[in-house]
């Protein structure tokens, strides 16, 4: 009997494709995307309690000709009325809602610092890493709790950029530049899209939240983490005021 090769090939390629899909399947996040037509908004402000901190500037120890002699410490960036910048705010444990973010996030090496210092992202997003500096930088993201290297990319000259995937598993990522040990950034990679980073006035907005009661976590690199309960009603705006204490001196 003559067996037509094309059917065999079809079965073989089908097996290979399904096998590859099985292997490539990402770790299933405990989050389901659904249409949010009656969502509410969470608006809030994060403030630093207590007296304003006097923090010594970063002493630049290499490439001073370009980076300068010192850089103001970016750790406690406090705006008007005590609003604290660079706090990541996110809903913990939310299981369903709007679609995940898919745009490419950005991390720029600029004036021997990372910009932005803190940002949120979703699993599956990509990151564009670039340098505006005429010195060698490296962008070296690590798991913040284990220090395990995610990858380590050289940015050898001004104008260089590259786009890379974020890890497949949600985690807090700490980014460093090995060539300039003061350079740090944080990326909160989450499995739900309900996150925001506070601006220079300490304010944030999270939109299209399905009605319900949630735990809102506010995280700051030095002041630590604080959970707050928030109830969101359909079509309404819930307001939250969070106080973080400057417990650590960087």
């Amino acid at each position: 009997m003559k067996i037509p090769m094309r059917y065999g090939l079809r079965i073989l390629s089908a097996s290979i494709i399904s096998g590859a899909l099985l292997l490539a399947r990402p770790v299933l996040a405990d989050y389901t995307v659904e249409t949010v037509s009656n969502g509410g908004t969470i608006e809030g402000v994060v403030k630093l309690s207590g007296a304003a901190l006097q923090i010594a500037p970063i002493k630049v120890t290499k490439n001073q000709d370009y980076c300068g002699q010192s850089i103001p410490s970016p750790v406690y960036s406090v705006g008007k009325d005590g609003g604290l910048q660079n706090v990541e705010v996110y809903l913990k444990g939310i299981t369903k809602g709007k679609a995940l973010s898919t745009d490419t996030i950005s991390l720029v090496n600029e004036h021997c610092m990372f910009n932005p210092r803190v940002q949120g992202a979703n699993i599956g997003q990509q990151i564009k890493i670039s340098s505006n500096d005429p010195v060698l930088h490296s962008t070296h993201p690590q798991n913040a709790s284990t220090n395990a290297t995610i990858y380590n990319i050289a940015l050898p000259f001004k104008g260089f950029s590259v786009t890379k995937p974020l890890p497949a598993i949600p985690e807090l990522i700490k980014v460093k530049c090995d060539a300039h040990e003061w350079m740090h950034a944080w990326i909160w990679e989450l499995d739900n899209p309900y996150f925001a980073t506070t601006g220079d006035d300490g304010r944030f907005t999270i939109k299209d939240v399905p009605p319900g009661t949630y735990t809102l976590v506010a995280w700051h690199e030095a002041a630590g983490e604080k959970p707050t309960s928030v109830t969101v009603s359909a079509g309404k705006t819930a307001t939250v005021a969070i106080q973080l204490a400057a417990t650590q001196t960087p």
Partner: protein, 264 residues
């Protein structure tokens, strides 16, 4: 004949073929974890620790410290930055050892089968090996002639890519960032001094090329895969080799053969 009948005829044969392929591959390539544990406890645990944490009995007297296997982070790989190593990468370290460290060669003390077994066991220390696969090894194009011109161009590449930031202008490992470098475990780590000779991860041109592209996971040595061209990378290899005492100083046009202690 209808297509679905033909498919039905073909399926058992295909399944049998896949089963045979699986058995053959399993026998050739995959080590036995239980056998590997026996080998590990006899040869590896004294430095790398019973738990694979790099804290074995002898670890305190060892510089650099033994690898902690729990992160799945390995410096020497053929795979891109951040990726797990392949089994072949790990076996190469077992066969060659790591020059200048306490990691000795197991080329004669262990059989190929025992090496595969112990690799299978070492991989159980990190959960990454259960959930991730190593990425495809990087491609290394053929080495161009080792000429004086290539070395000169390589010096310009060394400048262009700011290698001196860590490795210093003369390649002595004394650049401005050299003193503040740490590995993933917080241990101080120094940039390589190219004038010392014998690159730890292998002395062939392709070994050095691979480090530029793959980087050294867990260390400050980043990957230049996205910024350097193959021609630039080969010229840089030749410049690095020209700094080393392991290679003849006359550049003949053919890839250099390491001499003395540098011989692979």
């Amino acid at each position: 004949m209808r297509p679905d009948v033909r498919i039905a005829t073909l399926l058992p044969a295909l399944v049998t073929l896949l089963i045979i392929a699986r058995v053959v591959l399993a026998q050739d390539d995959v080590g036995d974890v239980h056998q590997g544990k026996v080998v590990y406890e006899q040869y590896c645990a004294l430095c790398h620790g019973e738990q694979g944490d790099g804290k074995g009995h002898y670890s305190e007297d060892t510089t650099p410290v033994p690898r902690d296997f729990r992160q799945g982070t390995f410096k020497w790989r053929s795979t891109p930055s951040g990726s797990l190593p392949t089994d072949a990468d790990l076996e190469k370290v077992l066969v060659n050892g790591l020059f200048g460290t306490s990691m000795s060669s197991f080329s004669t003390s262990l059989t190929h089968r025992q090496r595969l077994d112990v690799i299978a066991y070492i991989k159980t220390f990190s959960p990454r090996f259960a959930t991730e696969k190593p990425e495809a090894p990087i491609t290394i194009p053929p080495e161009p002639p080792y000429t004086a011109e290539s070395v000169t161009r390589g010096e310009a590449v060394y400048q262009k890519f700011n290698c001196a930031q860590c490795h210093g202008n003369g390649g002595h490992g004394d650049g401005p960032s050299a003193d503040d470098l740490k590995d993933d475990w917080g241990n101080e780590i120094v940039p390589y001094d190219f004038t010392e000779g014998h690159v730890k991860c292998g002395n062939n041109g392709s070994d050095i090329y691979r480090v530029f592209i793959a980087g050294l996971n867990g260390t400050p040595m980043p990957s230049f895969a996205d910024s350097i061209s193959p021609a630039e990378a080969w010229d840089l290899v030749h410049f690095i080799q020209s700094l080393s005492p392991d290679y003849p100083k006359n550049v003949t046009g053919t890839p250099p053969t390491p001499i003395g202690k540098g011989a692979p």
